[in-house]
């Protein structure tokens, strides 16, 4: 008899999630060959992550930003606004380069959706940045220093009536929305709802409906791509994403400077707020893993990088809450796939404190030899192919670097070749070399 989910150990849950991913339900493979390749690739990645068995070779992953657009002669602007063009470009990219997984047609996002709502958090191609350039964040304190209490009291209401009006110009009237947690009995209930009758609130809702339709249209393309890629032999490398609590608050709520000052001025509030966020973001990862029958949940890490805080601050503000998220996911069999942006040399000893074979750490800049030495018996490490080499280096330089990575980190498994950061307009021949060389040199004999 099959065990009930709640009775399974984290280990068993992870196996069950991997099993679903290895034999994806409802996927009609394009050919027996595609099915064979899919299973080989998924098994290779699973083996590298679990570290129980050496994979047949070092897996190779490509996680692009707008590179597929450039490769197809399109601009980032084109693929943010024409979803079919985006799908075609991303498909061509994966089919031409043949990495071991696909990461969705994810970079572009629905340009018109952001236009309709007048999104303030970012500049994007043709809307603040040049059509041929990438999107960039408008740093700011979207949540003010004195708003921690409001956030802590009711984060959802705070988002609805304070954050949404600030980050979406079209939703400014939402400032007036009532807190529906005070609905009770019959008397008074009508009064609570009067803001929905205000002309500007109604106009904002019309915009919201329009934006929702656009998001749904885009998601249709996005999901079609998610279905199509496994059929062509590419397992999905991410079911969704979650984040470290410090980054959630620091990236787009308090801002880099805001949250840094908070560590000195209001450390208790900051910690309370991170605690408050944690269950939401564990749940997000589990739900997305369930929805897409894929154990891998991506976590881009930002503000805990080398230099961005002291060791003590990392141990006090960053790691304990990130660890809660990771253990929350691991307990449910989800595999956190972390991407540590920036430097990580000073963090290796701290992040070692995790169960074996349950996480992936993709590194941007780190001493990979040291990373292997410290994390080698705990977690699969990945990445570190430098951006300068991919962008302006020669194929020989890429080959030499890839060889060093495989020599230093590949031993016994537990390493995946990957770019160190999402890439835009790099040299296609360098990307090709990185993949082909790994497939040749990375075979375990």
């Amino acid at each position: 008899m099959e065990k009930k989910w709640e009775d399974m150990t984290p280990e068993e849950k992870q196996e069950a999630r991997f099993a679903k991913w290895l034999s994806p339900e409802g996927v009609k493979f394009a050919s027996p060959e595609a099915e064979k390749i899919y299973k080989e690739r998924a098994t290779r990645i699973k083996d590298a992550i679990q570290m129980k068995k050496r994979p047949d070779r070092v897996p190779v992953l490509l996680i692009p930003s707008f590179f597929p657009a450039f490769y197809s002669g399109l601009t980032p602007r084109d693929v943010m606004y024409d979803y079919e063009k985006a799908n075609n470009a991303w498909r061509k990219f994966y089919v031409d380069f043949q990495p071991d997984a696909h990461f969705g047609c994810v970079a572009p996002g629905p340009g018109r959706f952001f236009d309709i709502l007048d999104y303030k958090l970012y500049k994007w191609p043709g809307h603040g940045t040049a059509p041929q350039h990438t999107y960039q964040c408008n740093e700011g304190e979207y949540m003010k220093a004195d708003e921690y209490d409001a956030f802590l009291q009711d984060p959802t209401h705070f988002f609805n009536t304070t954050i949404l009006p600030r980050i979406f110009g079209a939703l400014e009237p939402f400032k007036q929305l009532p807190n529906v947690t005070t609905i009770n009995e019959m008397y008074g209930t009508g009064i609570i709802f009067f803001p929905y009758g205000l002309p500007d609130v109604q106009a904002a809702f019309k915009k919201l409906l329009e934006a929702g339709s656009e998001a749904a249209k885009w998601l249709g393309y996005f999901m079609a791509f998610e279905k199509e890629m496994p059929a062509l032999g590419f397992p999905s490398g991410q079911a969704g994403y979650t984040k470290a609590p410090y980054d959630i608050l620091g990236d787009t709520l308090r801002g880099t400077r805001g949250i840094m000052a908070d560590m000195y001025r209001r450390p208790d509030k900051l910690i309370e707020a991170m605690d408050k966020m944690t269950p939401f973001w564990i749940q997000k990862g589990i739900i997305e893993s369930n929805m897409n029958s894929n154990p891998l949940i991506f976590l881009p890490l930002h503000k805990g990088a080398d230099g961005f805080m002291s060791d003590e601050q990392y141990k006090k503000f960053y790691w304990p809450y990130l660890k809660k998220i990771l253990l929350g996911l691991i307990d449910d069999g989800v595999v956190p796939f972390l991407w540590a942006e920036g430097g990580s040399n000073s963090r290796l000893e701290v992040i070692r404190d995790l169960p074996k074979g349950k996480t992936v750490w993709l590194f941007d800049t780190v001493d990979m030899l040291k990373a292997k030495e410290i994390l080698g018996d705990v977690a699969c490490i990945a990445g570190n192919m430098p951006m300068d080499l991919l962008t302006i280096g020669t194929t020989q330089q890429v080959k030499d670097y890839a060889r060093r990575l495989i020599d230093n980190c590949g031993k016994g498994g537990g390493y995946m070749m990957a770019n160190c950061a999402f890439f835009d307009d790099v040299k296609p021949e360098n990307v090709r070399t990185m993949v082909e060389f790994t497939k040749e040199y990375g075979v375990y004999k």
């Binding site: 990438t134 740093e139 000052a261 230099g307 002291s310």
Partner: protein
């Protein structure tokens, strides 16, 4: 008393700093002296950052404290503070890139190390660098960039200096997330700095400071 403000600011004790400044203003002390102490405190912050005793949050927080001090002292100032500078530097994040945290750190470190930094901000067109170099006569230029698109923008900025006949008159340093020696060669810069202290070391070398 004087020593206290320097040390308290260097130790990032915000409440105490504010109290000391309040007391000294009440005692009708020359506001320029207070600012001079604050500057000395920031110099120590810079030194601690250079020796990895302090990290970016400490710099950011010291900047916040300094801002508070300056706001308190400003209304009492009759003339601007003057101090001797080691040399002029034109600095900015290149066209197409709006990242400023790295740039601000280097500008801060150059400033506390005695340079007169003309910070042009982010997404700075090549021509704006050229104009500022002409206007200030600065012999040192710093180009910052986080995105890979900055490689080309840096190259174009340096090309614009060449076209304006300025290239021989300035030393150019570049820096940012993905900047390496390979990128330096590609852009035609004179040097690249791995971090803020490397930028200060380069500037001092180029300005002939020991």
């Amino acid at each position: 008393m004087t020593k206290d403000l320097v040390k308290t600011l260097a130790d990032l004790k915000e409440q105490e700093v504010i109290r000391i400044v309040e007391d000294r203003l009440k005692a009708k002390e020359d506001p320029l002296k207070i600012l001079e102490d604050a500057r000395k405190g920031m110099e120590i912050v810079g030194k601690r950052f250079a020796s990895s005793e302090y990290f970016i949050p400490d710099l950011v927080y010291s900047g916040e404290i300094l801002k508070a001090v300056t706001e308190m002292v400003k209304p009492k100032l009759s003339k601007a503070a003057e101090s001797k500078k080691l040399g002029k530097i034109v600095f900015g994040t290149v066209a197409g890139d709006i990242h400023d945290i790295g740039k601000d750190i280097v500008v801060f470190m150059l400033d506390v190390n005695g340079f007169e930094v003309h910070d042009l901000g982010v997404d700075v067109p090549a021509q704006k660098f050229v104009e500022k170099i002409k206007e200030t006569g600065a012999p040192i230029v710093g180009l910052s960039g986080f995105l890979t698109l900055a490689f080309d923008s840096m190259k174009q900025t340096i090309d614009a200096m060449k076209a304006a006949g300025l290239r021989d008159k300035v030393k150019v340093m570049i820096g940012g997330g993905q900047i390496t020696e390979e990128v330096r060669k590609y852009t035609g810069a004179d040097a690249y700095g791995k971090d803020a202290m490397a930028g200060v070391t380069l500037a001092k070398k180029w300005a002939g400071v020991k």
